[in-house]
């Protein structure tokens, strides 16, 4: 079955709560993809924490210092586990938003905003308090920053 540009537009307009001026499903798809990468990264770090394994860090020397710092746990729970929950929530919201659930897009923007602020705080800790960087944490930071950029792009599209 062929898919014409016209049929694409019609499909978009048929989705409940979705407007053509808002973020496109493509942006939400990219956000879902990015948050899944963040989810895998966080799960890996959580498992390392739970099983007491050494984290394989052969690129940057600071992983041990960062992951053994008091900032790696919050209320006795690995920060990576909290990150995994956040990434899964973002993934779910992005998928729902891509299918036209407007409220999911709003929740996603709020969560990504909070994650961005947390990321800035964690980058500050690595740079100025611990004075070491961990490659897995930098991957997570990059993912969150990209998610924030996509949220911003979506917001610009909506406000046009």
């Amino acid at each position: 079955m062929q898919n014409s540009p016209g049929s694409d537009v019609r499909t978009l307009q048929e989705i409940p709560g979705q407007s053509a001026a808002g973020p496109s499903p493509l942006i939400y798809g990219a956000m879902a993809f990015l948050s899944f990468i963040g989810l895998v990264d966080s799960i890996y770090l959580t498992v390392q924490h739970v099983t007491g394994q050494s984290v394989r860090c052969t690129i940057i020397t600071g992983c041990s210092a960062v992951l053994s710092s008091p900032y790696a746990t919050v209320a006795g729970q690995p920060l990576a586990l909290i990150g995994a929950v956040a990434y899964f929530t973002v993934f779910s919201c992005a998928v729902l938003a891509a299918f036209g659930y407007k409220i999911a897009g709003k929740i996603l923007a709020v969560i990504v905003g909070l994650m961005f602020l947390t990321t800035l705080w964690l980058l500050y800790l690595q740079a100025f308090v611990i004075k070491q960087f961990c490659q897995f944490c930098l991957v997570s930071a990059a993912v969150t920053i990209l998610l924030t950029i996509l949220v911003f792009i979506g917001w610009r599209r909506r406000s046009r």
Binding site: V40, S64, A84
Partner: protein, 242 residues
């Protein structure tokens, strides 16, 4: 169908995440036996005690040399080299410490014992601090003195909120220049030595502590008590003809 598709995708992602968790976990636990257990293993009963046990595991090698020169007891010309990848906060490593002292006393110049840093963080929050303290002592030629102090008093500092003052006390006790020690603990040179040892560990596929190699062959975890290690070393000496 389209109505349910997002929920199906989310459920599939959730299952994939759980599967990933179990996969990473099984890989982590199957690659290392006995890591982070609280006791040394009891030697496995064997009907062929004294028989060469070490001929089975293959010799592993890597181009990663680790920190150079390594911290070693025994001459470089010793026919048997025992290389330990250890974590100062790991209880089995603490139990291995007196076993290796027995080996050093029994075999003297026939065995060279090398200690490599492999701090298991974040599960052992003081492991890296301890490794830095030992390496800083090494900068003043007293690595083994600090190594002994840290392992022999592991229970004292294990649950301390901040282990650094404890290690400073040990530094004073073994007669280090304390100002230099404080500088060295945070120095890039010390961080680099730990990093190089970790790189060697990863290259040798070491994932837990204590991991011991005898002439490049990994020793099973249940063979780490001195009597078992002794029989492995004897077998290796016999194989070499020394």
């Amino acid at each position: 169908m389209r109505r349910f598709l997002p929920f199906i995708i989310i459920i599939v992602a959730l299952l994939a995440a759980l599967g990933g968790f179990l996969y990473f976990k099984s890989r982590a636990t199957s690659s290392t036996s006995g890591v982070s257990s609280t006791t040394m293993p009891t030697p496995a009963p064997t009907a062929q005690a004294g028989q060469p046990q070490i001929s089975t595991p293959p010799v592993v090698s890597t181009n990663e040399p680790g920190a150079t020169p390594p911290h070693a007891i025994g001459p470089a010309s010793a026919p048997v080299t025992l290389e330990e990848f250890g974590d100062f906060q790991c209880p089995p490593c603490g139990f291995l410490h007196p076993e290796l002292k027995k080996i050093a006393n029994t075999y003297g110049p026939k065995v060279r014992i090398i200690f490599r840093e492999f701090p298991l963080t974040p599960s052992h929050p003081h492991a890296l601090t301890a490794a830095r303290a030992a390496e800083a002592a090494g900068m003043q030629g007293k690595f083994w003195e600090m190594h002994g102090m840290i392992f022999e008093n592991q229970r004292t500092w294990h649950s301390a909120f901040d282990a650094r003052p404890v290690f400073e006390e040990y530094a004073r006790a073994i007669g280090l220049n304390i100002d230099r020690y404080k500088r060295d603990v945070a120095s890039p040179a010390v961080a680099e030595r730990i990093f190089l040892d970790q790189k060697r560990a990863h290259a040798l596929n070491v994932t837990g502590t204590p991991t011991v190699f005898i002439n490049g062959k990994e020793v099973p975890f249940d063979s780490l008590p001195a009597e078992r290690l002794g029989s492995l070393i004897d077998a290796e000496l016999a194989r070499i003809g020394r």
